[in-house]
Amino acid sequence: MEDGAQPTLPALERMIRTLQHRGPDGFGYHIDGNIGLAHARLSIIDLAGGAQPIHNEDKTVWVSFNGEVFNYIELRRDLQKLGHRFYTKTDTEVIVHAYEQYGENFPSYLNGQFAIALWDSQTSKLLLVRDRVGILPLFYRQQPDRVIFASEVKAMLPLFDEAPRLNPVALDQIMTFWGPVDDTCIFEGVRHVVPGEMVTIEAGRLTRKVYWSWEYPATGQYSDLSEARLAEQLYELLNDAIRIRLRSDVPVGAYLSGGLDSSVITALLHRQGADLRTFSIGFEDKGFDESDYQDLMIEQIGTRHSRLRCLNESIAAAFQKAIWHTESPILRTAPVPMMLLSGQVRENSYKVVLTGEGADEVLGGYDIFKEAKIRAFWARNPGSKFRQMLLKRLYPYLDISSNTAQSYLAAFFGVGLEDPEIPYFSHMPRWQTTAHSKLFLSDDFKAQLRTDAIEQFCNTFPEGFSSWHPFNRGQYIEAKSLMSGYLLCSQGDRMLAANSVEGRFPFLDHRVIEMAGKLRPKLKMKALNEKYLLKKSMQHVLPPEIIARYKQPYRAPDIPAFIGGRNGYVEELMSEEVIRKAGYFDARRVARLVKKAKSGRAIGAKDNMAFVGILSTQIWHQHFVSGFRQNFGSPE
């Protein structure tokens, strides 16, 4: 902050109080002239001595930190050998000493998930650093006389002079990619530190530097180790990723969905002799439920397990709270059961869970990769009926047995066949479906969209992108869009933090990502067998039924959750009057969508995404724009 806008304790208190859910175990502050740091603690390591902000030996470097540095034991040992003295047993303290030792290169030494604000008083420099893949959030805003930053935007709102405005560019990105793909934020004027980035603020000047990014070799230049050796290597890496993620002074549980990834984690935990405590969701709607596969793992491994039964009405009842935490419109209700699940974890006195998130992106599990492979194969002979029949292989769990569905799926996935070299070939069908939601934007709002979301995203692709194998291009796009912009935040961190629970993600250990990046694409997806190498590496620890099962994407009921129950807020927020007042959407179009939803005819993905997207935008508006004064007090 510059002179005249110096931080005060009351201001820091107002900010940090909004983040109590992230850290209910105590607040800490550090104010030194132009810098003010506040911290809300979720105590996991060094329960007695880990209060933050934490400093170095002579109190010239301070850090406020959310997350975990899992290799802190090894780093601490190295730093002690180099003469650094520690006053706590925390992972946090290695950050200040690593900064002293390695300078601004220090994030490269950290294996973990983190949002870091580090203040160097000797150079009057503030560093904002986010982990490599975007597990923990970090936002900032430049105001004329100061920079404010926080883990969630709601902590910054008490320092806003007036109610925030919705950023049209961000809504455009959400309604194309499901989440932001650059530093854009749905709150106008706010930016987020992008995954793998360090933002430096020094003498009023802000600079951005990427310290890590998703990399793939040029086509053909892959690891030349044998398949068997690579499978062993992957096993060893994952085992170690889990081992260091068990470092904690409180018990660690795990999510068990019944799918391959969470089963891998549970099985490896079992082999490491960990005390197994697992949690899962079951749905009343069988189309979403995976309880049978969960039971298989529970029986085989003998874990103490709790299953949350998720009803449609519980999704509707919790939806407003979920948007308070996502701080963003969302297109699916799937995050809500994850919030209810973290509530159950907390009720059972657990505050740390391992989850399988990231495996599909890193090791090639998503249907979108399979689709792209089939479409590319098909593009070599677009007239082929046989080639398009492969699409049937994709969706064994959906009813597409009729010729219609096949014919139309073929046309749907046929998008872009004329140019399979287009950089985002893999994602064209999904983006086209998602963008349907923009049909409902009001004319006034549409007029504010002056850029093309896809073109802008493509402009951020790294040098060398075009030399990568199309499969790897798809992986990159997935990791930079859906995963970091939605799965890890709206569906991940925010739904965990809502109930003061920390998630840990072994598949997103950067060693695993970097190893997998060098694999030949056909080892990730052999023919149409997804996550092939992972299955191979785990075949001796998992039941064959889990290895062989078809992949069911995690989904939750969307429109059906809101229709038919007693959800007065849905009626109100989707009413023509309230839609018109907020101004984002065309009220008459929305009225027709609501009518269609009520009649039970809105069965497609497009209508479901549009409905949830509009409703969540309206709730966002109510929480943060129209409810600004009520929720965030009078501005300073």
Binding site: Y408, F412, R588
Partner: protein
Amino acid sequence: MVEAKIRDYILENFLFTDDQSALDSDESFLDKGIIDSTGILEVIFFLEEEFGISIADNEMVRESLDSVNNITSFLKLKGVSTPETVTNSQ
């Protein structure tokens, strides 16, 4: 009459508008992104319920269902000309 009914249905349920200029009768639903693979099932349910016909698997192709004009011609082939005809035939 049949064409108008189909047009109104598509406008109301897929484009969520009553603006007739939003849809040309020969516009491809799929190419224009108006209807996806699930959407076409909605259209089939509508045609079966509204016109009292039964659509066979081999009729579920783009040539029959992918535009207002395609559907109108298809219904004509099925012997449907006006909703009244349907009522009589039921």
